[in-house]
């Protein structure tokens, strides 16, 4: 909501500056995003001038040479390119030294051999409009030399206020003024109730068929309307508030909406069939061309304004093209109604059609506002269009009564943590329009939607006292915080991977640019994308990991990685993850969708291997593990085992086996056959060659034997070793190499 300060000050008398108002509004009412300033920064050299002479420039056919009384002893000679004025015209003048809003500073200078001392202004040159057809001709009767700011809205400060959705009352200048008056204890100027004289008593045919959708409809008829551009002051206000000026009648409806918050609509009365207004739900298959030119298919849930034959407006959202006010309009029916918000919201959502009006209606507008809104509009229409006001109707059902809400002042203090005396609470609430009523307060009509409970009254006090509330910490009886096991182990895994040289990535849970949400079931594909990006910018040593949720039958946390290098690099990282969690991985040959079919392994918790060459150019390793499964299997407690005082015996054993026999199976058999004295088994070499034969390989193990009771002898070791050799031979046909 853009709020021009001059407009605001019309409604509230307060000494505070725009900055002070912005600061306190931000804290107590709604955020002020900024203050925009329009117009020249220094207005001293902008004056009202009266043209004394205006003749063709002696050396230029398209220029006028004027002398202008600007209140100085000598008139100023000014060369001007416009011809829409002559001697005697009252004009706006900028004198040499003045800086225009576009940053240009005027100087005395010669134009085609004639000195020009200043500029006669067009509206676009001072930011008052876009018209550059001619200069601004002002109303006669102003003394030459009068500061221009006294007759034109030359400068403006505009607050950019962002009200929250629960405060429809703040989508108007008057609503903001009400808050400013309350916060600064300033005087709020009541909206004028003065109605211009009604010229006739024409009957208006207005009927509401659906009081739920439309609790109130105020209609006003105006005859002999002259459609014309609005005066500059009104155009400037509309533009400053972010709307376009169109013509006087439409501008008045927009002006009143911005002023008091009640959107209005104007119909060309002569286009209404039977001169009738009916508020009803749309009929099945009913169509309406709205004034943006689109043909709208209506549904029975849409509220429409109709005449005797057809719908003529999408209620609260947009008028219809056929009944729109045009240059030819002479009779206007003004609508100041009230509409129920949720239905409007649904229609506007379905039709993907939002307007300044629907944006207010969908939040809920005070039904009592239609009165003052129609009064203000009537004043302006009569004043600006020369119209006669000839008819009025106010059709309504039961309007909601003001509710009284009980407030316990001690409750306020309990919520705030600040002692605000009951009288002060009452005074604050009174300023915001809540009248004391027994042990409660009566809610003003414009707050009826968002203040319905005691806590809502508490908030009114709280927002006024917000800066006074101290900073404390809860007094707690319980006080023990700790990461859960899963959270601790997540950190362990993250740190292990960082130690392996992996950097952490965050990738989207689904392709965010797609139309539909396809939640991912694995992280690796996103990491492949991230790796591809890194490769494309020539980053080296790419190693990325991520811990995130995947979305299977249930959500699971996974940890995944992609690394430049190959299966060995990925396996190393997976080994470190298991080691960090005090787990022993067991790998098995596998096929996995993203992996090279010959270089893929599964563990109980996931997979690791080399990326399939179709996935990413180059040689890459990748892994993806179920972190929840990993942390669930990690041991809860560790028990230390004494280091044996007796030295271990180490032996290297190499076996020739068929290629298909996995090294891990052999290692397992060694432990099993060797018995408890086998302390450690590690593969340290794999060899293929002619001496060994096709389809076979040699796998070499370093085996450590030891005992907690004694030092093992060579004979002990030889016995264990022969058990191992026998079992490996029986089970896998393995031959011990000499």
């Amino acid at each position: 909501m853009k709020v021009p300060m001059s407009w605001l000050r019309e409604y509230v008398r307060v000494g505070a500056s725009a900055e002070e108002i912005a600061d306190l509004l931000s804290v107590a009412t709604a955020e002020v995003n900024g203050i925009e300033r329009r117009g020249p920064s220094d207005t001293a050299l902008f004056r009202v001038g009266v043209v004394l002479t205006a003749d063709k420039h002696p050396n230029a056919d398209r220029l006028q040479l004027c002398t202008v009384d600007v209140g100085e002893k000598q008139p100023a000679q000014i060369v001007c390119g416009a011809w829409n004025f002559g001697a005697g015209a009252t004009v706006a003048v900028a004198l040499p030294g003045a800086t225009l809003p576009n940053g240009i500073t005027l100087e005395r200078r010669e134009l085609r051999g004639q000195m020009s001392e200043g500029m006669i202004l067009a509206e676009d040159e001072v930011g008052l409009g876009t018209d550059h057809e001619g200069i601004m001709v002002l109303a006669d009767g102003t003394k030459p030399g009068t500061p221009l700011t006294e007759v034109l809205p030359l400068v403006e400060e505009i607050l950019d206020v962002e009200p929250t959705g629960n405060r429809p009352d703040l989508f108007s200048v008057y609503g903001i003024a009400r808050e400013v008056a309350a916060i600064f204890d300033g005087e709020l100027v009541p909206l004028s109730e003065a109605k211009p004289p009604q010229a006739a008593e024409e009957q208006l045919d207005i009927r509401i068929d659906d009081f739920e959708g439309c609790p109130r409809y105020v209609g006003r008829l105006f005859r002999d309307v002259t459609i014309a551009p609005s005066p500059l002051w009104l155009q400037a206000r509309l533009r400053d508030a972010g709307m376009r000026a169109i013509s006087n009648v439409v501008d008045v409806t927009n002006y009143v909406m911005l002023a008091v918050g009640n959107p209005l609509h104007a119909f060309d009365y002569d286009t209404l069939e039977g001169g009738r207004i009916v508020v009803r739900r749309a009929k099945k298959k009913e169509q309406l061309r709205t004034l943006d030119g689109a043909m709208r298919e209506l549904q029975p849930s849409d509220l429409v304004i109709a005449d005797a034959k057809r719908s003529i407006a999408l209620a609260a959202i947009m008028g219809g093209e056929e009944t729109e006010v045009s240059e030819r309009t002479t009779n206007v029916l003004l609508e100041a109604a009230n509409f129920e918000p949720i239905g409007i919201l649904r229609s506007s959502e379905r039709l993907a059609l939002r307007t300044e009006g629907s944006n207010r209606w969908e939040k809920g507008v005070d039904p009592y506002l239609a009165g003052p809104a129609s009064t203000l509009a009537t004043q302006l229409l009569v004043q600006l269009t020369g119209a006669r006001w000839t008819g009025a109707a106010d059709v309504h059902g039961d309007l909601p009564a003001r509710r009284t809400i009980r407030l316990r002042p001690e409750r306020t203090n309990e919520v705030l943590g600040l002692d605000v005396p009951a009288e002060r609470q009452g005074a604050i609430l009174a300023r915001f329009g809540f009248d004391a009523d027994g042990d409660g307060f009566r809610v003003p009509t414009w707050r009826a939607r968002d203040v319905t409970r005691e806590i809502d009254l508490v908030e009114e006090v709280a927002r006024f006292e917000l800066s006074e509330i101290p900073f404390t910490l809860p007094e707690k009886d319980v006080s023990f915080g700790s990461l859960t096991r899963e959270q601790k182990l997540r950190r362990v895994v993250e740190d292990a991977l960082v130690g392996c040289g992996y950097s952490e990535a965050y990738t989207p849970s689904f392709p965010v640019t797609a139309d539909t949400v396809a939640l991912r079931q694995a992280i690796v594909p996103s990491l492949i994308e991230a790796a591809r990006l890194n490769a494309s910018v020539d980053n080296s040593g790419i190693a990325l990991f991520e811990v995130a949720r995947v979305y299977l039958a249930e959500e699971r946390r996974h940890v995944a990685g992609v690394v430049q290098g190959g299966i060995a690099d990925a396996r190393w990282a997976v080994d470190q993850i298991y080691a960090a969690l005090k787990l022993e991985p067991s790998y098995a040959q596998a096929t996995e969708p993203y992996l090279h079919p010959g270089k893929a392994a599964r563990t109980a918790e996931g997979w690791v291997g080399e990326l399939h060459p179709n996935e990413l150019e180059g040689t890459w390793g990748a892994f993806e593990l179920d972190l929840d499964a990993l942390t669930a299997s990690a041991p809860e407690a560790l028990r230390a085992v004494d280091v044996s005082p007796f030295p271990e015996v180490r032996q290297d054993l190499a076996f020739v086996v068929d290629d298909e026999v996995p090294a891990a199976a052999l290692a397992e058999a060694i432990v099993e056959a060797g018995g408890p004295e086998v302390r450690d088994v590690a593969v340290f070499d794999e060899y293929r060659g002619e001496q060994i034969g096709a389809g076979k390989r040699s796998v070499a193990f370093r085996v450590a034997f030891g005992s907690h009771e004694r030092t093992l002898t060579d004979e002990d070791a030889a016995a264990i070793r022969s058990r191992i050799v026998a079992v490996l031979h029986d089970r896998y046909g393995a031959e011990l190499r000499a």
């Binding site: 931000s26 804290v27 955020e31 929250t164 959705g165 918000p341 949720i342 959502e349 969908e362 809920g364 309990e414 919520v415 705030l416 600040l418 806590i455 508490v458 927002r463 509330i469 101290p470 900073f471 404390t472 910490l473 809860p474 707690k476 319980v478 915080g481 700790s482 130690g499 392996c500 040289g501 950097s503 952490e504 965050y506 990738t507 939640l519 990006l533 890194n534 980053n539 790419i542 990325l544 995130a548 949720r549 290098g565 299966i567 690099d569 396996r571 190393w572 080994d575 098995a588 040959q589 010959g598 270089k599 893929a600 399939h612 060459p613 179709n614 996995p662 593969v683 340290f684 794999e686």
Partner: protein, 337 residues
């Protein structure tokens, strides 16, 4: 010519091709220049026949393309399988394990850990709840009014009529209060989702941390003090915090906390848009309706809640003006942390 029968024959032949050469033979037979189909297409006179023949041609072409991709992948995989290694070998026997300098945690994680530590210090538990939420938990129990824009598919990702990607971590409040009776002091951290155009400062996914304290006699002053403590833990002891009134469905009164700008110290600069303050999230007193929704008596229990963005906090702490690098994962960015 029986177009349907021809198409079926072609599809059968394509499906039964087990090597690329067979597939190519089928392609020539059914789609080649002298194929029955192509000849018929040349002779076609009426629109209807033409459409039928073209439909058959398209079906056969796409079947060939699909089968070709399958066979190529199968041939590639057969070749790759001959490179098979024994994956049960130790890593260093599978290939070179390249030594790498230490990696880097993502800035979002660095902030997450600081948030966790700050709240553990205050005696809070840390939660990590589901991201796919029901309307009941994401909106209804949090007292979102019917008109609230977040309920619209324009703002929120709906998975079906009843499930959404959570729009804030606030659903954790309900889970925490339903799981046990107060006192509750918890912080929930995780991903949240909002349908937003991707811009330099917005991404449809971000991380929030959501705090909740429910106990007897919790006050707004306690909320202010707690957030001041956390802001200082995240951004430094010299920071100040101010509060502005705001609106959230699940808190009343509601406030937005601002932290004093770290770039200018509160004097005003471009980072803080000359206000000296930086918006950092939302907060408020738990709405009595929310307490009632989980069966707590609002006259007996009170609480506060707040939600802030991890990326936003990381942006402020590390002076990262835009969001894009948080999701792009360029190592030139990540290696700075």
């Amino acid at each position: 010519m029986d177009t349907q029968a021809l198409q079926q024959d072609a599809l059968d032949a394509i499906a039964s091709a087990t090597v690329l050469a067979d597939l190519d033979e089928a392609r020539v037979k059914y789609l080649g220049r002298k194929s029955e189909l192509k000849l018929a297409l040349r002779e076609v006179r009426d629109r209807e026949t033409g459409m039928a023949l073209n439909a058959a041609r398209e079906a056969i072409e796409s079947a060939v393309a699909a089968r070709q991709a399958e066979l190529e992948r199968a041939e590639l995989d057969a070749k790759l399988s001959s490179e098979r290694v024994d994956v049960t070998l130790p890593a260093e026997l599978l290939g070179d394990v390249h030594p790498r300098p230490r990696g880097h945690l993502h800035p979002t994680t660095l902030i997450r850990r600081d948030v966790e530590d700050a709240f553990i210090g205050l005696g809070y538990e840390i939660r990590d709840d589901r991201e796919v939420e029901t309307l009941e938990y994401n909106f209804d129990k949090l007292a979102f009014p019917e008109w609230h824009p977040a309920r619209s598919p324009r703002d929120t990702y709906f998975l079906d009529a009843n499930r959404v990607l959570r729009t804030e971590t606030s659903a954790s409040q309900i889970h925490a209060m339903e799981e046990r009776k107060p006192p509750i002091y918890m912080v929930s951290i995780g991903r949240v989702y909002r349908r937003d155009a991707i811009t330099p400062t917005r991404f449809p996914i971000f991380h929030q941390f959501e705090g909740l304290a429910v106990d007897r006699h919790i006050t707004m002053a306690d909320l202010k003090g707690t957030l001041l403590h956390v802001m200082r833990a995240l951004f430094g002891e010299e920071r100040r915090v101010r509060f502005r009134t705001h609106y959230f469905p699940f808190t009343e009164p509601s406030m937005e906390p601002d932290v004093s700008c770290g770039v200018c110290g509160g004097e005003g600069c471009a980072t803080c848009k000359w206000s000296g303050w930086i918006e950092i999230g939302g907060s408020g007193m738990v709405d009595p309706q929310v307490l009632a929704n989980v069966g707590l008596d609002p006259d007996e229990w009170s609480g506060f809640a707040f939600g802030l963005g991890l990326e936003r906090a990381a942006q402020l702490r590390y002076d990262i003006p835009i969001i894009r690098p948080f999701w792009e994962n360029d190592l030139r960015f990540l290696r700075q942390f």
